[in-house]
Symmetry: C2
Subunit: 338 residues, 2 copies
Amino acid sequence: MKKDNITIQDVARHAGVSMMTVSRVMGKKTNVKETTRRKILAAIEQLQYQPNVAARSLAGSRSYFLGLVYDNPNEAYLSQILMGALHKCTDRGYNLVISSFERAADGSYKIDDALINRAKLDGVIIPPPLCDSPEILRRLTDADIPMVRIAPQTLPDYSAFVRMDDRRAAHEITEFLINLGHRKIGFITGHPDHGASKLRYEGMKKALEDKGIPLRQDYIQQGYFSYKSGADCTENLLELEDPPTAIFASSDDMAAGAISTVHRHGLSVPDDISVVGFDDVPLASAIWPGLTTIRQPIMAMAERAAEFLMYPDPEKEKDNILDYKLIIRESAAPPHTS
Amino acid sequence: MKKDNITIQDVARHAGVSMMTVSRVMGKKTNVKETTRRKILAAIEQLQYQPNVAARSLAGSRSYFLGLVYDNPNEAYLSQILMGALHKCTDRGYNLVISSFERAADGSYKIDDALINRAKLDGVIIPPPLCDSPEILRRLTDADIPMVRIAPQTLPDYSAFVRMDDRRAAHEITEFLINLGHRKIGFITGHPDHGASKLRYEGMKKALEDKGIPLRQDYIQQGYFSYKSGADCTENLLELEDPPTAIFASSDDMAAGAISTVHRHGLSVPDDISVVGFDDVPLASAIWPGLTTIRQPIMAMAERAAEFLMYPDPEKEKDNILDYKLIIRESAAPPHTS
DNA sequence: CTGAAAGCGCTTACAG
DNA sequence: CTGAAAGCGCTTACAG
């Protein structure tokens, strides 16, 4: 392809300054007079200037490469992360290098030296579950590569992280059920190894407390985030003498399993029993009835993470909490008035 | 990060030649004496030389950028495409620019000029449904940007494409059902607008013919690739006087809907009725019973597409057909012997 | 706050 | 078949 593109020289000429000053504006340096900056910004806008990534990378001390490592059990989740990071990178003239890590039999990860040595990454984004691997964190720290972790379980202060408030989200969706009129709410917990499971449980518990509704132990079932576990737990719930009128499964996969079990019992969702989930995976809107659930801001988390790495600033907050959203579909309704 | 890496100069010095000759070897040019080439190759190997992407891109006539455009109806599908393309690009020192297109109200797409003008792409990968948009194809053709289409419905010969054999795959999974002992096989067609729907139908029909099993019109139901449509079609199938013993839904989403309906009727999958799908989306292994289905080589298709763009060669076949795979899980079994 | 010079690591186009 | 020169579009380091 021909290279008849607008260069930094064109912008400089247009704005009546030197190339150097344009470079400073592009790099968000502060030592440029405000009026000059505005003139340059106008020229950039008018010419639709886009810096040449290759030249930037070649000349500069940064590589304009960001890394994304993953070991992903969950495709939908990774896809969101990927899209978020990639979009931000493309927008900002960065490149994304993705690299997968295999978990060894002993549960540890071996690190790809190539990634660390050759790529000269400006930073790396680490989604779960890798973000909680001590080897990975130490290796990157040793190599002096900045990192941002996404939704980590533990929050040590040596790296930045982006997350959402699982506790508050679980509180909100429980409250939603209560406001619908439900008092008998079954809860299916997530995998005990995941930090979020505990937070979601706590949020649900707090919502009950706040409304003065007692927590019944027989309404709490231990799930593992899978469809099957959601189906099994629901089986248990429906066999109770006084079964719940609503079920809050702490993942969509489990909620989908719950719905299938309710149907198998010849009952209707939401007419007989309401079911809500958590995550808003594609499945949530694919099945019928559509799942009322919490949408995690996964893509936004990746975007924020990438941005954090692009503009290093020691003043920046290390803890970035993003907003979730309650998605109301058809799987929850007021309880049967019997 | 510091740039203390091995450069082409180091290799040249090591091999006792000029930088230029090394460059020729790297670029796979043929005009280099065999002994010289070997000396250089040895030096490259010994020094672990990796060309600097940025320098290459800046100096050369190629950009080492590939584009991936999408309009995303299906996250799981796109995610696979993305992973395949990204892996290949990362491996080969290429960069990937992704860009989404919004469909206008009239069904047409407006093209992002920025993508075409600024990025200087060496080529673009076009997955469905964009690969069948005349505007996009014409725009890219006009801009003289090479492209590879993935699984297009129509196969005009002005661009290369990568696909799988939907007809043969449908034939194979139908045969699988027949070999299990099924003679009464219901079929749920895909969305009439998708080219693959027809191919899958034809494959199923052919398999029946090959085994001398008559095609019953009441066993054919028109679906739309959605969970809901799969559930509804199955409702119709189960209401027949002589219902099928197996159902082949031409997408996994529809197969999942089919299973839910079978369960709602108090029947078991696969003991009472077998159900098979097509696609192998994440849902297929999430639900219970796991879906027997056809795995499309989506990631491999994207890899092949990227590779095609990296090594232009007029001799190359334009039609790249990749292998699918029959994935056997728990949703199909021999029919009830009654 | 702004600019002139040098150079990042390659490939192109030309010369032999 | 091989090489010396020029330059891709930026940023760094230095000077004012």
